[in-house]
Symmetry: C2
Amino acid sequence: MTQNLRTWLLGTVAIVVAGVVVGRLFLGEPEIAAPAITPAEAKGYFGLLPAVADNPQNPVTPEKVELGKALFFEPRLSKSGFIACASCHHLASGGGDGLATSIGHRWQVGGRNAPTVLNAALHVAQFWDGGAADVEEQAGKPISNPGGMASSETLVLKRLRTIPAYPERFRAAFPDDAEPLSYANVARAIAAFERTLITPGRLDRFLAGDATALSPDEHAGLDKFIAVGCTGCHNGAALGGGSFQKFGVVRAPEGLADPGRFEVTKNEADRSVFKVPSLRNIALTAPYFHDGSVWTLEEAVQIMADTQLGTKLSLADADSIATFLASLNADPPLTVTLPQLPASTATTPRPEPN
Amino acid sequence: MTQNLRTWLLGTVAIVVAGVVVGRLFLGEPEIAAPAITPAEAKGYFGLLPAVADNPQNPVTPEKVELGKALFFEPRLSKSGFIACASCHHLASGGGDGLATSIGHRWQVGGRNAPTVLNAALHVAQFWDGGAADVEEQAGKPISNPGGMASSETLVLKRLRTIPAYPERFRAAFPDDAEPLSYANVARAIAAFERTLITPGRLDRFLAGDATALSPDEHAGLDKFIAVGCTGCHNGAALGGGSFQKFGVVRAPEGLADPGRFEVTKNEADRSVFKVPSLRNIALTAPYFHDGSVWTLEEAVQIMADTQLGTKLSLADADSIATFLASLNADPPLTVTLPQLPASTATTPRPEPN
């Protein structure tokens, strides 16, 4: 080997090593290689969405859904008359509120991010900590939460009973009930409306056999989503919502103060445990996590891969997975026609903004 | 005349007088007698609503209206990300907010009642004090009002420019503008949407010649409305909105502190002067007056008759007029399909709740 050749070889090796080092420094982790999944294979991870998330204990009927929609948009359910369910669950914005944590009565800033109501009826439980078994149990709680809508069962019933259209509509929605206008039925009607907020997207067309329903980039993202192991938790028709998991299975996230499901169960094993959120419409519902602390999907994906799966994802891989996730937006877009709410009467308790 | 007959007559007279006195005490003023007006005669007081309140300076186009609707429901126009135009102008509740005075950024309670946006584009000016010439001038003001949405031109433009769908939609809505995404065009787009919020009702079918479009009670109320003189101010297609009047033409109302239009003109003659509100959908937009101090339509009618026309109306007459006014509700009811708002990006300035 000549001196020239040795110099040339060493130089080349040095350049390659430097390139790899610089590449790692600037570009992050290498990309994940993943085989292309077929619709039939993908069905093993995900399920098809039902048209409606019906509940035999609270059957979805047109009367109940229309009443529930009115109540969902009804600010008179709040003490102030300013806040409705729809104030923190914008049906124009993916069913969340776009804030880190929600704003309640007298501008109290809450502790957790408003989860989307879209497809929520499919979840194993409600709230980030599973503090309600189903949407029927959930829907009444923010209404009477002092930091939420700050109302009470008494005030809600007095407001609704003095607006003649409401007792009439409750009778039509709950014809077999001795007392149709009850606080439980307020929640049941809202829940029935929420049970109709099911938003299929392009993934569902892919699962149904149309391999072109996802773009090549989205398909590549789906492949990575599976290869990385995201489907361990984000599976089923809602891509999540089916289980509780510790935030930090592999590695504890920085600065996690929220005790999570421990607050509900008082079981030490449930500390830092949260319901796995659905990824349906996730690209529309930033910021992310129970505390809304992360504002981009790419960063959320990287944190999840790191804390839950022990995988350092390159930005390119996180971008690719985020591209797939954006294909989970409702398609066709959600169509909601605003209800028209009946007027108060002279005896309806007035708004109490203070 | 026998003693018996005299006693009987005196007794009868005493009973009748007592009856009238007691009747006045308990039932109030005697009812107004009014001839039944025909559709053709009624057209002399009212006008037919246009399908759209178009403006040659800001033509109503589908692209502009769809963009304006999105912006009307867009909470990211507010500093906090919590308040949209729609927060105080509920299109589910007659276009107002049902509060005495509105709630703004950080729960500041404002000084005036939120006027309905329905048919507002037909008014001679905007705001209770006429502080804006038209909806184009009006729409941007609550967005930057520190007590309203507390945003700024800079923040609004930065938010919208970093959400790719918006620059694109502004270009489509304002194709001839060198700078389509401007603060003025935010207001113009919202205004164009508002120009479509025109709500005909049964009165319009009556005016068009269908004498049965109003029920006999509503027709009787209309007759009294005219006989009492309400049409002196509440005339035209919007039954109001066409002029400014002193609150207390005949008699000053109690405790009126608001300087009204004086705040805009600094002209002493404009003290206690307000824009006459439209009566369209008035039964849906309690409470009443610039300060939302009156909660029933009957009471509002009695106060107006007293302070503006010097007439003490019986409760029966006020009820009758209120019955007519309820016929001014949108019929068919307003139909608004919620827009679907585009997602923020990594560079979109975040909500600032504090």
